[in-house]
């Protein structure tokens, strides 16, 4: 996993609430055995007509909006436990998703795949949407170290919560297994001592 420390980027606005995992990646695209390539079908039925042509009014098809930050309405990622939802967003090129509320399983899945879910207040979320509306190339800075999200144009900043363990993992680019392996020496000492007793 790619380590995450600080990111400065423009953002893509998706002011829709309750975006569910079937919108993020429909089930008919789940038949793959690796984690790559799901970005092609991210938001498939919002992005493309059934004949495969682009839907021009969908934000990902609007070249004005670019960036590695996705900003979405509350209760983002509700529905399935399919990790493909997080993979698709990361594979498309997003590194941060901002919302005022995330579904539990999605949030965990995102953290396990180097995709940082940032929870902000409903008011601050509204300010982010306004900042993008005023200036589509407005940049935002996400500092994981300081747990701070900043609207660069206005210098408005807010702090966000993250589990300290997950923070360590993201900064080091570890998933849970990488973290365990990094603790291998300590685990072996523990096992040895337990066996002796």
């Amino acid at each position: 996993m790619k380590p995450f420390t600080t990111l400065q980027s423009t953002a893509v606005p998706l002011p829709i609430e309750d975006v569910d995992t079937d919108q993020i990646i429909p089930a008919r695209f789940l038949k793959a055995t690796t984690r790559e390539g799901f970005g092609d079908n991210l938001f498939r039925d919002w992005r493309f007509h059934q004949d495969g042509t682009s839907k021009d009014d969908f934000v990902l098809n609007n070249p004005v909006y670019q960036g590695e930050i996705l900003v979405a309405g509350k209760n983002f990622g509700c529905g399935s436990s399919r990790e493909h939802a997080a993979w698709a967003i990361a594979d498309y090129g997003f590194r941060v998703v901002v919302s005022s509320f995330f579904a539990d399983i999605f949030r965990g899945n995102a953290l396990n795949n180097g995709l940082l879910p940032v929870v902000v207040s409903p008011d601050f979320l509204h300010q982010i949407f306004e900042a993008i509306e005023a200036n589509p190339v407005a940049t935002f800075t996400v500092s994981l170290e300081n747990q701070a999200f900043t609207i660069d144009d206005t210098a408005q900043t807010t702090s966000f919560e993250i589990d300290p363990y997950k923070k360590t993992c993201l900064i080091n680019g570890y998933d849970d297994i990488d973290f365990l392996i990094s603790q291998r020496a300590a685990i072996e000492v523990f096992e040895l001592n337990s066996l002796v007793k």
């Binding site: 002011p15 829709i16 609430e17 309750d18 569910d20 079937d22 919108q23 429909p26 089930a27 008919r28 789940l30 038949k31 039925d45 059934q50 309405g73 509350k74 209760n75 509700c78 529905g79 399935s80 436990s81 399919r82 990790e83 997080a86 509320f101 579904a103 539990d104 399983i105 965990g108 899945n109 396990n112 795949n113 589990d163 363990y165 998933d175 849970d176 297994i177 365990l180």
Partner: protein, 345 residues
Amino acid sequence: MTIVCGDSHTSTHGAFGCIAFGIGTSQVEQVFATQCLLQRKPKSMRISVEGELQPGVVAKDIILYIISRLGVGGGTGYFVEYAGSAIRSLSMEGRMTICNMSIEMGARGGMIAPDETTFAYVKGREFAPEGEAWDEALAYWKTLQTDEGAIFDAEFTFDAADIQPMITYGTNPGMGMAVSDHVPEQSKAGESQDTFRKSLDYMGIAAGSSLLGHPIDYVFIGSCTNSRIEDLRIAARLVAGQRVADHVKAMIVPGSQQVAIQAKEEGLDKIFTDAGFEFREAGCSACLGMNEDKVPAGKYCVSTSNRNFEGRQGPGARTILASPLTAAAAAIAGKIVDVSKPMQA
């Protein structure tokens, strides 16, 4: 017992008093590697449903009612205990339906304290303990009750008498109402009006309208929510001797081979096929449009599954969630009907 699996509907097992919840692929990897899973303790919620259920009201209606009241994010961060006399009156199949849909309000899991109904269901089944081991297990299971006076982080109580046969009108399971109600004029407090409009546009349903008599095209009775033997019996009883409406394609999909075999032994498959249903192979099928069982764009499907998300049953498909009873009645009538009222010719 703790059960985890890479499926958010793992919570179905909560009906047996297990801690059961869905996890992502990376966490599955973690379990395989270590037999452990790092978790934060969730907050606790108790949802009690007290009193006697109305005629035509089954487990699915209870959970759709609860989700319509709490919303799709109402349970996020919580583990739920379902309690109260109406919950205790349910069979194990009904309890599984309730626990199954916990995730549809955002809760990782839901559970019901084991009681005589649970013990009777488990006794004599494959892998169930026997003899002395049974007695020991039973003594332990009987301790798995919430203590008198226990304090929950959140608590809700509903009156069973207020629950009617339910359907959904929108594109998430929280957008549900009594089948006899009207679609709300606007979004619920705290929900975005834009999201509400977008949802109704997708469904081709007008704000403020009644869905009684609304024509439908497909009926799907299946999925991990409602494809157990009891669900098939409920549906079979209603459709016996009748015919599926000419314009409706209706499918029965048993939840497992075990259920399929039992249904055949009881002659339910014959009742369904005589009525014009397709009796198909066990599996997930049209719940999530992963195989060929898809609902075409713009068509209405009354489905006993758990998610009415946009495109869930196929691109452009319009899903109306309901109980097996309401779904079976819709298949015969060719439109949405209220099963708590006598059937109209």
